[in-house]
């Protein structure tokens, strides 16, 4: 668990981070979002003591971080940065094995772990282990970056705009894989990004920062339903907000059992999002869809009228 309470960072006269408090429970994914220069990266780097905080307390697993030796602390925390920071003179396998070697694992253990991680991140060992970073595409290099961060199996993972420099298609693919890996490994993740869609897609807990302060924090859905001010609203995409909210909701949460009427022509799997359902309705000129399970067997029905009604209900419950 990571806990920041009343943490500030001053560089001379300037206050980069101003009295922020936030809590990331074990196994949760927290995204820090904001425009550039809002202090989100500084906040992240205070957690592994690349920057020392000026005031307040940062607590890691019940201990103030000043208690830890900074070097040993960093070896226990995975760290991924935007431009990968891979060592250009080391091949992929050696890059990934860095922290385990620093922790003096045996050579066989290091090699086993490296192969396991390359497997996890979809990098065939035979093809990639001996390549150098400059021979990799941007996406492959960042996979290696993530593998390196996970190498010593840290509980905490800090990611500083890891996918910021990638093209949209590669970025989305890596986001999906990160979500999958997180569902399996349950790391405590702090993820810095300026891309709200990325944050909405990945985070359990969303923190919006501006000029060193936290403007609003909460679950993605809560923020979408009730942005604190116009800044958060504009970050969330203004008019697009409704669709973004729909993207976070599953079809199965809004379906009803099959009605007496004839089933609708269009079919949608139950684990698709409401956003996809709405898109399908628009495409097929239909205000009703048949919901099917993974074997394409109808299990319920989704109607436009009901989606709109329940959206209002959600809004009411978020207000309470």
């Amino acid at each position: 668990m990571i806990e920041l309470s009343h943490v500030s960072k001053r560089f001379g006269e300037e206050t980069a981070v101003d009295d922020i408090s936030l809590r990331v429970p074990k196994g949760k994914f927290c995204a820090l979002v904001g425009t550039s220069g809002c202090g989100k990266s500084t906040t992240l780097r205070m957690i592994n003591r690349l920057i020392e905080h000026s005031e307040g307390d940062i607590i890691l697993d019940g201990q103030a971080i000043e208690v830890y030796d900074p070097v040993k602390l960093r070896r226990r925390i995975g760290y991924v940065i935007q431009h990968t920071g891979l060592f250009p003179h080391w091949n992929v396998a050696r890059n990934i094995g860095l922290v385990p070697r620093l922790l003096k694992w045996s050579a066989a253990d290091v090699q086993g772990r490296v192969e396991e991680l390359m497997d996890l991140l979809g990098l065939p060992v035979g093809e990639f282990a001996h390549k150098y970073p400059h021979q990799l595409s941007g996406g492959q290099a960042q996979r290696v970056g993530v593998a390196r961060a996970l190498a010593a199996d840290p509980d905490i993972l800090l990611m500083d705009e890891p996918f910021g420099a990638l093209d949209p298609i590669t970025r989305e693919k890596l986001q999906d894989e990160l979500a999958k890996i997180q569902a399996r490994l349950h790391k405590t993740v702090v993820f810095v990004t300026h891309d709200m869609d990325e944050a909405l897609k990945l985070a359990d807990h969303l923190v919006v920062m501006r000029e060193g302060r936290i403007v609003q924090q909460g679950s993605p859905l809560a923020l979408l339903q009730q942005p604190a001010d116009s800044f958060v609203e504009s970050l969330l995409g203004g008019l697009e907000r409704g669709l973004k909210q729909a993207a976070l909701t599953r079809v199965k949460d809004h379906m009803t059992s099959m009605g007496p009427t004839l089933p609708a022509q269009s079919r949608i799997p139950a684990d698709f999002s409401l956003r996809q359902a709405l898109s399908m309705m628009l495409r097929d000129h239909s205000d009703r869809l048949t919901v099917v399970d993974q074997h394409d067997v109808p299990i319920g029905e989704l109607s436009l009228r009901r989606i709109i009604k329940e959206a209002q209900l959600d809004k009411g419950s978020a207000r309470e």
Binding site: R74, R75, R76, Y79, T84, G85, F87, P88, V99, Y132
Partner: protein, 399 residues
């Protein structure tokens, strides 16, 4: 998209089918030099001015024809260059270089009267021009074939071996060989002194340079001052620096007995070494400093974030990544020191410069060559060797 983009692009780049104008013109230059300049000169003894001979007299018509064919061959191959033609060109250039001493052997049979044991053969302008142009050809071919420096260097070493064999076995009449035979012990000692001086100066300045560069990185204020001093040192003419060191070192040797016993004196090895180090420091420090500073901050940030200690970051990340640029500094420094050491002969430090200055004094140009050629060779070998090493240290051809 503007209208300009729609215009057909003019052909600016050479593609494979266009003649390689560089090699074609180099081939023409060599042909002109071969027929227009003196190939060899012959003198009955060391003192007398020699007589010059052109291609037909020096090589006879079969030799002159063969040389002409080989030289034209380069131009013809370069007219329609392809990968295969470039390889053939490489072979032709190497063959020509290896055949050069054979040409001299031919000249010695044709021109030297066996009744005159003192007669000696001098290299004419043709040899120097053709050798120089062949080296230019080699550079061009190396770039076209995208070879690393290593292969041409190895091939050149092979050629040098051929020259050495020919010179020792069959070329007694060559003036250069005669000068060498007259003082072979002295020659070997001079090479030893030269290499020792250069080696000592460079290794000391590598260490001092590394320490200075690291101090500069820590104390920003030191940086400006140190570079100013080193820049100033570099502007003093070498002879003047030797002279400037004479008085203070002589005084030190006379007044501090310990230093005197350690070999410090106004003339000789010590002042030469000090001056060489003074000149070597600027290129060394500058390259080391830049090399260490140039390492990507992202990489170093990652190294720190991963939990590497300061020492680990320096030895495992910063230094290895700086090494190619750092070695470049060592290369420049060494080549410069090899040349400067020649001047050190003037203050009694020995080395190959001795022959140059003695030869100049006696108006014996062949003796000057005996000093100058090995200096040139040393510089070329070091240049190629360290260049190849720096290339090899870039994993997979990064940067």
């Amino acid at each position: 998209m503007s209208l300009l983009d729609a215009l057909p692009t003019p052909r600016l780049r050479w593609d494979g089918r266009h003649p390689n104008t560089v090699l074609v013109s180099l081939s023409l230059i060599m042909l002109a030099a071969f027929w227009g300049l003196d190939v060899v000169s012959m003198a009955p003894n060391r003192i007398v001015q020699g007589t010059s001979y052109g291609a037909l007299e020096a090589l006879g018509w079969p030799g002159a024809l063969l040389a002409t064919l080989l030289l034209s061959f380069i131009g013809i191959l370069a007219w329609q260059p392809s990968h295969r033609h470039y390889r053939a060109l490489l072979a032709a250039v190497m063959t020509l270089m290896a055949l050069m001493p054979v040409g001299l052997i031919a000249s010695s049979y044709l021109l030297i009267d066996p009744e005159l044991p003192q007669a000696r053969l001098g290299l004419g302008a043709t040899y120097w021009v053709v050798l120089f142009v062949l080296l230019l050809c080699l550079i061009e071919i190396r770039l076209r074939l995208k070879l690393t420096r290593l292969w041409p260097t190895l091939l050149l070493c092979g050629v040098a071996l051929v020259w050495w064999l020919c010179a020792t076995l069959w070329l007694d009449s060559l003036a250069l060989v005669q000068e060498f035979k007259a003082r072979d012990r002295q020659f070997l000692r001079a090479i030893g002194q030269h290499v020792t001086l250069v080696g000592a100066a460079v290794s000391i300045s590598v260490v001092v340079g590394l320490v200075l560069a690291m101090l500069m990185r820590r104390y920003a204020r030191l940086q400006k001052g140190a570079f100013a001093v080193l820049n100033f040192l570099q502007t003093i003419p070498s002879l003047a620096l030797f002279g400037l060191l004479l008085a203070p070192l002589a005084w030190l040797a006379a007044n501090v007995p310990l230093l005197g016993r350690l070999g410090v004196s106004g003339i000789g090895t010590m002042p030469a070494l000090i001056a060489l180090i003074a000149y070597s420091l600027l290129p060394m420090v500058r390259n080391t400093y830049i090399a260490l500073e140039e390492v990507s901050p992202d990489t170093l940030e990652a190294a720190k974030g991963m939990g590497m200690r300061a020492g680990q970051r320096f030895w495992q990340v910063r230094l290895p990544l700086a090494l190619p640029v750092l070695l470049e500094g060592v290369r420049i420094t060494t080549v410069q020191a090899i040349g400067l050491t020649a001047v050190a002969a003037l203050i009694g430090a020995g080395g190959l410069g001795t022959f140059i200055f003695q030869g100049l004094g006696q108006a014996a140009m062949d003796m000057v060559l005996l000093g100058a050629l090995p200096i040139l060779m040393l510089a070329l070998v070091v240049d190629a060797g360290l260049g190849a090493l720096a290339e090899a240290l870039r994993p997979g051809g990064t940067r």
